[in-house]
Symmetry: C2
Subunit: 335 residues, 2 copies
């Protein structure tokens, strides 16, 4: 905390760093500064709402760059809207801070604002409290009625597609924590970037309405997340592990076994998992190509229940559980 900012109070704080964050939108009738925000919904649209919290020492290491923390707090929420095929519009922020540090706040709000601006999201409300660093963002958006992607819409025979590459964020976190090391500085930087600045697949999610039958975002790792989509759709899922998309950077820093472990279990990739009927796959591939986004078929939905995993045609042991904050909290990040 700089000397001149020592007496900065909550209200000044909010005014100084959290007004005019993100896009200026004409549908914000009243933003930060009253008891609540007033927002104009487009007609014929459903409201889409999600909330996700990130906690220091749990979801990111203590001492992380506040610009990354601001980015991630919004990105994980944008990713939820992407998974619904919804258009993000507004966000509110509940920020719990151990102390008032103007430099920290400036970088945090820049990370939040840059990503918000890129997705035309306006920050319309917030609350700042004192305590352990905890960032909770609520994202609001809309989707044309009846067109949202749900987890429950998958059909037997649908292909399972994933965007981007998996495991990069897991490797990035291991590199940040120095629980994994590499001599390849460029690959390490790329992987850390993937952990610190995930890219929510908002545009692709919106484009998948009417093409995918089901979708969800991969926040907890494929091994933990896929069973939820399969179960919601009332189906079994099968994955061929050798088809998991791995980045060149990931392959450069570790062996194939570790790379696949991260791809399946580490989480934090914020890629989309989609169920797409074979007849729509060409459309999906062409849209992904237009967005310069890798899209990979990794398996399919089948009648029945549960998830089966195969490696080169042979059934493989089921990977460990997905990210579960209470189970893994003590081991995931060394606080």
């Amino acid at each position: 905390m700089t000397q001149e900012d020592a007496p900065l109070g909550e209200f000044d704080l909010i005014r100084r760093f959290f007004t005019d964050i993100g896009a200026a939108r004409s549908d914000v009738e009243l933003g930060v500064g009253d008891d609540a925000a007033l927002l104009r919904m487009p007609s014929g649209a459903d409201l889409v709402a999600a909330v996700d919290t990130i906690v220091a020492g749990r979801h990111f290491p203590d001492g992380s760059d506040p610009r990354s923390i601001g980015h991630r707090a919004l990105a994980v929420n944008l990713s939820d809207l992407a998974a619904m095929g919804a258009t993000p519009a507004w966000a509110t922020l509940a920020l719990t801070l151990p102390s008032v540090d103007a430099g920290w706040l400036e970088r945090f709000s820049r990370g939040l604002s840059d990503l918000a601006g890129a997705h035309r999201v306006a920050l319309v409300g917030g609350d700042t409290t004192a305590g352990h660093l905890t960032v909770s963002v609520q994202i609001l958006g809309h989707v044309e009625r009846g067109t949202a992607l749900r987890r429950s819409g998958g059909c037997a025979g649908d292909l399972l597609l994933v965007t981007g590459t998996l495991g990069d964020a897991g490797a990035g976190l291991a590199l940040v924590r120095a629980s994994h090391t590499t001599g390849d500085a460029a690959a390490a930087a790329a992987l850390i970037q993937r952990f610190e600045y995930p890219s929510p697949r908002v545009e692709f999610g919106i484009a998948m309405r009417g093409i995918a039958t089901a979708a969800m975002d991969l926040s907890d790792g494929l091994a933990g997340d896929l069973p939820k989509l399969a179960s919601a759709s009332g189906l079994a899922a099968h994955v061929d592990i050798e088809r998991l998309p791995l980045s060149a950077a990931l392959s450069a820093v570790t062996d194939l076994q570790q790379a696949r472990d991260w791809a399946l279990g580490a989480g934090d990739d914020y890629e989309l998992l989609l169920a797409v009927p074979p007849r729509n796959c060409e459309k999906a591939v062409s849209i992904a190509a237009r967005l310069n986004l890798r899209l990979s078929a990794i398996g399919e939905l089948r009648p029945g229940g549960g998830v089966t995993w195969a490696l080169n045609g042979r059934e493989s042991a089921p990977p460990g559980q997905g990210f579960d904050h209470f189970r893994r909290a003590s081991t995931q990040i060394t606080v």
Copy 2:
């Protein structure tokens, strides 16, 4: 934590305690369990959104009854919507917990659910993380376009009205902390109840649309909050301190000076402060009577800026600042 619940993970937790919370609403197309909630907005209405966080040791003492914590986390948000004249409909919850305790969660969810049900609010999403006890609720509602109450609408000559009585929650907190004592057990219980289970004035707020010109809720104490309404309306405000509504319970446990200090500065009352033109005051009084709600004129809006305080016709020193979590965190509650 009971033995049988030891392995309860995050997903089980959310399923067990946070599904079917509050009202069942036909406008919830998709609630807890997907990436985001899908909600149907009434046509011609604006969306109203607010977020408020309460933190253990800051906004309530450590060891508080979890039923009260669940109630208050929602009540403070309902109060924000009341201040806009909006109808609450849906809420999301971001809950950060130090440990998984089924008994705690059951009482917490009961407190939340009882109040949600009473106001026909459905819990449609949530996120549970591990960490210092922090409860962030985002409330969503709607209001007929163009009718919301704002802080900025006040006019010179409007009377300043407050609902209920002020200072009770401040006294209740002091009694809980045992920084204040009394021999009057019934009065103490009533005041503690006012701190632990505030009643957001939702119905009255909705009824004040078209009658009040400005409104806000009193979360930080009149001395801290009134300047915000006056400033937003571009006006001065005057208050006659002897007109502050004090409850019989408050008067039973302390002297007039301390009672007024709590009424002005302690916060947590969650009553409404309204600016009402004299021509509409009779209507406001009659609506309050119908709702069995005390309504008191305490002053007026005047041309100019700032707030003046008078006691029995003589100008009085301005009371201390309103609740500011960073300034008062270390003194408000002994952690």
